[in-house]
Amino acid sequence: MPETPLQVTHRQSDDAGTPTVVEVLTDAAKHSVLQVQDYAKLSYHSVLDLFTPPRYGQDTIQQMDDIGVGSLPIVLLSGFFIGAVMVLQTGAQFQRFGQVSLTGDIVSLALVRELGPSITGLLVAGRCSSGIASELGSMLVTEQVDAMRAMGTDPGRKLVSPRVLASLVVVPLLTTISVFIGLVGGMVASVFSLRLSATTFWQRAIAILVFSDLMQGFTKSVVFAFILSTVGCYQGLNVRGGTQGVGRATTQAVVVSSVLIIVADTFLTRLALFLADKL
């Protein structure tokens, strides 16, 4: 029987006896594959639904406000201090070789290529992936999602796609802001800790960057946005076990999206380095 993208796939077991170890392991493997399949379907439809009506512009803007503006304070604060601490850590090493001026280079590269996207992705995942999971999970256990379907609304279009689109738009913007504020933090630390002039810091920080560095950071932020939003939606729409299940889904959303972001970061970095060599 075909299932809807958001309908749980039910399995019917006829075995009444105690299952063997092999059966338990097989069931666990099947369950995991099933979860990956359901997640892939949800992700696929979340993108596909963006290109066909009905679209929910108002909901998307509301989510942009929630995810983007709501996450701005933590992104600004963490960005500033990460930039500053990078300067303190690397500057001490550069001082030993009399190459303090290189601090701007290393901080800029690290923030644009790596720390900006990944730290922003992890922070937004912690704040928004969990928020999405708990919101959708609560709607599911209180039958609001079923009510939506009963009134002829596709929950995928109404609940998932606006959150995915909003994340895809605002997370790269947040990453850009985070990188800039990180550089400001690095500059402040350079001036006061290493006695490096602000002009030198900025000149080196900007000069070292090439187009591929910017693309690497941008690509990562887009991928991380997709991961954190789809994982949050998937966990929320697959809650089992009432309010306790909502709590579990919230935790799972943060854990899974954070791990996936770190794993994806490794592969994207390798891919970027490979492409940089080829091009």
């Binding site: 029987m1 075909p2 299932e3 809807t4 993208p5 309908q7 039910h10 399995r11 019917q12 077991s13 009905p54 709607m139 209180t142 039958e143 609001q144 079923d146 009510a147 939506m148 379907r149 009963a150 009134m151 002829g152 609304t153 596709d154």
Partner: protein, 278 residues
């Protein structure tokens, strides 16, 4: 309390048969819940679906609304085989069905007015048409003053009434009630049942009421709403063109245990059924 205008009368189905289950099976990890359920409802009829908790009443309603698909068997509603429809087709079909959820299932981030208007806004109805229709159905459930309130500010009974208003706004020819009086005090329960009577006798909608409270079923069978006097009266409706027929269907272990008229139910000698009568 104003009398609802004719503009809000739901579009009736031309088909004489509003709903038919044919050998419907559905189950989950723990095994089959509904085992070969077969029954039908005629247009304008009221079916009281009785049963203990966990016998599959809610599942039957969700199958009727196309919210779940049967593992086997077919469900026909309003002349369409909904068990064979795709999810996209079902979204269109569900707009013709009103569903009142057990706890109301109101959108807690929207006001009462926005909840009721939701379906119309989804359908792209102009804003100047939405407002009077929302006011009309809220007046019907006697909650016109709550339009700006959030569901969390309402009592349980008021939330159920808003849920009925929300189901009514789409002018559905069939309304499915999932234990609408569960957990409510007797007076509030009576208010809800009166609303269901009004909906049935004023709008002539086909109704399926899932409940474990037999008194709700007998209230629907033994009373009618007189639109002219705007009051509930004992006995059958005076409207001979559209008489309200009420039938009982008792589920047990996922199968039909009893199907018959209120009189059959009342005069039963079956020990299990008599437990509902106590």
């Amino acid at each position: 309390m104003g009398s609802p205008s004719t503009s809000a009368i739901p579009a009736g189905s031309n088909s004489a048969e509003a709903l038919r289950f044919s050998d419907v099976w559905i189950g989950f990890d723990e095994g089959p819940i509904l085992r070969g359920l077969s029954f039908s409802i005629q247009t304008g009829e009221t079916l009281v679906l009785l049963g203990e908790t966990g016998t599959g009443k809610t599942l039957a309603l969700k199958l009727a609304a196309g919210l779940l698909r049967p593992d086997a068997g077919t469900v026909r509603a309003l002349g369409q085989d909904i068990s064979a429809k795709s999810e996209r087709e079902l979204l269109q079909f569900r707009r013709q069905v009103g569903f009142v959820f057990q706890e109301g299932a109101l959108f807690d981030s929207l006001t009462v007015g926005e909840n009721v208007a939701y379906r119309l806004e989804e359908d792209g109805v102009p804003a100047d048409e939405i407002e009077p229709r929302v006011r009309e159905v809220l007046r019907f459930v006697e909650l016109e003053h709550t339009g700006e309130q959030l569901p969390s500010e309402l009592s349980g009974g008021m939330r159920r009434r808003v849920s009925i208003a929300r189901a009514l706004i789409g002018r559905p020819p069939i309304v499915l009630y999932d234990s609408p009086t569960a957990g409510l005090d007797p007076i509030t329960s009576q208010t809800i049942i009166t609303l269901i009577l009004r909906l049935r006798d004023v709008y002539h909608v086909t109704s399926v009421l899932a409940t474990h409270r037999l008194q709700d079923g007998f209230a629907l069978a033994n009373f009618h709403f007189d639109p002219k006097a705007r009051t509930v009266r004992r006995g059958a409706s005076n409207d001979k063109t559209k008489p309200a027929v009420t039938r009982f269907l008792v589920l047990r272990d996922g199968r039909i245990y009893f199907e018959g008229s209120p009189e059959d139910m009342l005069n039963t000698k079956d020990r299990y059924l008599q437990r509902f009568l106590i």
